[in-house]
Symmetry: D2
Subunit: 137 residues, 4 copies
């Protein structure tokens, strides 16, 4: 079940000389989607880092179906598709109205920022990710 | 067989607040790798577009093994791993010395820039991509 | 008289390893400010280009007073401070609440996109820029 | 006296839909120019930060004379034009062969990274910046 995370207005800065959003820039939109998906569920990622835990991306995949253009307002949808203690997979869809432009996913791990070592999360944080992973139909 | 395509000095502009190269920025390095791989084989991608053919990316995949840091000089390697008339797959490896930082691939199609329709390439261009795809051991 | 043009959530993608928004990224915010300032006055910049006129930036100035940080929601204000037939100056202020982070301006010219030559605008477009330039107290 | 700091190949990632390098991206080139200017004079900026001193940009100015295009190899020149204990001004010129594309400057201060307070540099570092500032004709 994909949740609407944010709308984003394409700037000139986002485009390339083909007239479309540069293919690398969608990963920043995937980041914004993850952040707003978590925030909508009560977790500000900035607070997570402030408490010493970071979630680096360890894998990313993107399928480009159709281009976004300058001044388009595109919609970013996200779903936490799996959580397995050490890793989270978040799927993303970038749409222009009903039209799918880009979809894909990122896999994130949890690390202790002090040691940069992998970290198994627990307590409320674990409960949140479990709840999100169960929210799928 | 991966070919050394270019070396790249990491700028402050490339980093994020975790102190590493932002995960989305590697797709620009994948682009530079493709471009230099083609140039080393006699094809300036700019000339291809000037002649009316573009190669948009339709799929991208990245695995993040270790971070690149500010002022690192990282090395970008590429290999054309498959060519099937309408699509090309280019694999990339970003290394810091002997250490693998990021690997992955992009899949590109050929389009006619005037119509934005898919295009089957032929002649010298086709021969070049066939040669590159055969260069693998 | 500065007008509120947009609010912007700082992403990880915008930050650098000092933990702040990278100094070069504010020019994209200056662009967004100009675009929304024009849109609020009835002019979609995309339509202007569709009609054959572009407004390239010919000069930019930025003063950095304080840094924006990850996840800050910063506010962008703009004012058209001068219009002289061939050139427009737009001043920008980036604020975090009441705190001034960055201010500066960009100077833009008008060009005919077909010829890339400077162009003197007239009619409704000229009237719009004259009105905006007069809107100052 | 401007010193050649580096050459830079324009990537697709650097361009915008007008077909030129996006105006905001030149500040990353100004950064690279400063870094290589210092390195050529024996100072790796990364070492400066490792020793606890950072040089944030407090002012930037750019004049856009002509556009850089995809695949251009542009040359970046820098000059330390003034040093006054707490502030350094570095002028930059971005050229395509003999043609001036962009020039401008950045003003940087010195801060103690632990306290983020302004810092008056001394010793070898001060001597280096004084020497660079005197190198002008």
């Amino acid at each position: 079940m994909f949740h609407h995370a944010l709308d984003y207005r394409v700037a000139y800065a986002d485009t390339d000389r083909m007239g479309f959003v540069y293919y690398g820039n969608y990963l920043a939109l995937f980041e914004r989607t993850r952040t707003e998906l978590l925030r909508a569920n009560g977790l500000a990622y900035a607070d997570l880092e402030a408490a010493g835990t970071a979630m680096p991306v360890i894998e990313a995949h993107l399928n480009y179906h159709a281009p976004a253009r300058y001044d388009d307002v595109i919609s970013c949808y996200g779903e936490l598709t799996s959580f397995k203690g050490l890793r989270v997979t978040v799927s993303c869809r970038i749409m222009l109205g009903d039209k799918l432009l880009v979809d894909g996913y990122t896999v994130l791990s949890f690390i202790d920022m002090a040691t940069t070592r992998p970290k198994r999360i627990d307590g409320e944080l674990r409960a949140l990710f479990e709840k999100l992973a169960e929210n799928k139909p």
